[in-house]
Amino acid sequence: MSQTLVEMPMEPAGVPRGRAMVERATWASRAFATYDIDSVRRIAHAAAIAGENHAREFAELAVQETGYGVVEHKVLKNVACSVGIWNTYESHDYVTPTIVEGDKIVEVPRAAGVIFALTPSTNPVATVYCKIMLALLTRNAIIISPHPFAKGVCARAAYVMRDAAVAAGAPDGVIQVVEQPSIPLINALMTDERVDVIVATGGSPMVRSAYRSGNPAIGVGPGNVPVLVEKSADLPAAAQSIVASKSFDNSILCTSESVLIVESAIASGFTVALAKAGAFLLSPEQVDVVRDLIFPMGHFDTAWVGKSALEIAAACDIKVPKGTLILVAPIDLVVPEEPLAQEKLCPLLAMVTVSSAARGIEAARAVLRNSGRGHSAAIHSQDARVTMDYASALPVLRVVVNVGNSLGSAGIQTALAPTMTIGTGFFGKSSVGENLQPKHLINRTLIAYNSNKSILMPDFTDLNPWSAPQGSVPAYPIASNLEGAPFIPQPSAPIEFAGTDDLREEIRRLVIEELRQIIKG
């Protein structure tokens, strides 16, 4: 008997509390999964508005906490991932059953349940917003585990959306945050069998471990985006959009262009256009200096993530014009031993020139052999044939045309689904190949009738199994002999475990006063 005690596995600190969060989320998801479409829309809309209202505040906090990115650009992403996502899916319905008359099939949307979401430090708030919005639209509970570098702002962002959602009728516990993420805690939550799906956005090791967890997982890997500028392209426009995209949020999106491939026939004209758009073309000597700075000993130095072109240039003692937005580093060949052909996450763009579009496609394939399979690529071209050849030859699942890839592949400047989570599909060893969107977070129960024509399907119109919640969810546990008495909801703040302060006393006093009123009433 005593042996059982000795052999009992000891859970690392924080894990029991994390497991309690999963259990709370389980209760929340059970309740949320029965909500009707009107309630879901009201909740998602409220969260989106709250997110938008704090878009700038959290953009500033994110830059402060992580030390990277550009406030203005983060504002744009935060808005896109709150009201932007709302506007996209406002008229969609992932809740109400639909009837496929001819097939005698009725489809009943079913929520996944509990989502465990890992979010990165590079797009902290936008990713938190995005995943919460998708969870709310699909009636799922979500536990956010932010990257430790951005845990403060991520928790605040999630709580803003949580408070708005709950005020609009969402169940208690529908949005929770791991405030002190640690590797053992994340492992414990990923492998917890009550988690229904993991949505992992971040580095490859984390994404791979999500897949190994034994739970269904949607993981997305890194990008390494080739962009081909082919001779039919509108050069000034291409230069503009590449520079804008590469400099967006100091290039920390996984969709940011990594290697520019230019057809030699137009190379000199295009480099002039690039310079005009704010790019600084490095000399061969300068390329060596920059390479040594960003890739010391051939390995990427994460200190440069999200730093500006001016900061990088200054660190290399390179004089650049004031308005410089990106640095362009010409390289000879895209080969594994060329570090600049890797993902860089800062506004440094490698450039190779190629003799033809066909050679350009080969170069792009070489870029993707380094990393970024399943992710995205861009092309600037007026030629449908070349575009088709490029798209069908590259192992990527989105090729955006005549637009910056940063916001193009993220669905903000194209008709792709707006997201901070780019599915990399089979090429990238992910279960989802599209931009993460609501449909990935539900299943559908199919009611299927005998195909024999003589057996008819009765009328399912207006049969809706879902309903609006009655009051707060869950109901506050008032004594059964007080039911029906006018009830003032209590503040949900729990009694703090230790430490007293005036605020707590004040809340307690208010609770007592409210109860007195109820009892008198």
């Binding site: 008997m1 859970e11 029991p16 208690d172 109901a475 506050y476 729990p494 007195r516």
Partner: protein, 455 residues
Amino acid sequence: MTRLIPIFAKWSAIWYGRSMSDQASVEAPYDYGVFSFASKSEVLDKAKAYWNPGKTQFWIDSGVPLVIDRREEYFIYDMSGKRLIDTHLNGGTYNLGHRNPEVVQAITTAMQHFDIGNHHFPALARTALAEAMISSAPTGLTKVIYGSGGGEAIDIAIKTARHATQKRKVVSITKAYHGHTGLAVGTGDERFSKLFLSDNPEDFPNVTFNDLEAMESALQNRDVAAVIMETIPATFGFPLPAPGYLPKVKELCERYDALYIADEVQTGLMRTGELWAITKEGIAPDIMVSGKGISGGLYPIACVLVAEHAAGWLTEDGFGHISTFGGAELGCVAAIKSLEICSRPETRSMVHYLSDFIGQGLRRIQADYPDWFTGIRQNGLVIGLEFNDPQGAKFVMRHLYENGVWAIFSTLDPRVLQYKPGLLLKPEIAEELLDRTEVSIGRAWAEVKSLRGPR
């Protein structure tokens, strides 16, 4: 070949000098290391011979021949292997489940350093628990005194009130239950006091529950030290205090210079959806008692929380009450961890969900048996089920037992079944519990009807 195996096992035990317990496992299938039994009937026979023949026989006669063997989460297993969902939880002792892993871990770790401790000296774990208790307690409570169980804690509360007021009388409700120790048993129903010539109506007057006039007349001579109240009287079957009753009793206490002792042994620790049920009534008690669940179900301990104006003896004569095991430091560790788990926002949320879910499920069942299942008394996860028969809950208890649920009738009102699901009960087990409950209530009704015969 198969017949050779036990012989081989015996030989190898002799040849290789295997431990006694390994050898015993060949002969006694129920081997627990320091003791073993050959069968369940051996346990029952010996329980009657050496322990408590009355109690042992009672359960056999009641159709609940339970000898709890394995226990984990909210499950207890009879020696036969039969699994039961525990909704008795010994009055909340197992609020956090049987052998809650977090509490087990805390105590196991603590045992590398602590033992019971020395009751005369200030102590590490005792001080830490006292601070945690006070910081999470209703307003005004400032000191903690420890007992080794709820009864002792009630005795301490009464002694404290008597010292503070210099009065002797303690008022409790008719059919009250506050434990079996010297003073506590006096406050309760004579069911437990007369047997031991311990009834003392002079010092322990009873008044009818929910009767404010009776309460006032008991107090108006200003000769009462304290009123002691379970926030919801458990052993009496959880009759709910009428709206405003308890606050009014507190008011009367203030008017007539008596202290208010809140017995939160069963209702505390988040069971009603707030850490202490008394705060839901808007009452700041002068003295509050916590027991049962505070032990984590693993190391006995009970706590008395006292307001400064009642805590005088702790300064005047700190050795006034002494308890070797009261506040045992291992118990304090169990209590700190249990209190922390109960205080978590996640726990509070889950209790609200579970209360809502179980309440709705019970009302659905009730709708099917309106003539039999006549009432639900519920405040959070404190739940009493009323049945339309003087012994109704005993029938339901037996059918629940047969159907894999352990819930007990209320000793002082056997119409009412005590139904206390665990705070951390998983949703799927809650569903299973309701399924089993529905079937059992139906079968108990069929049995009662057949006994009553055609009308």
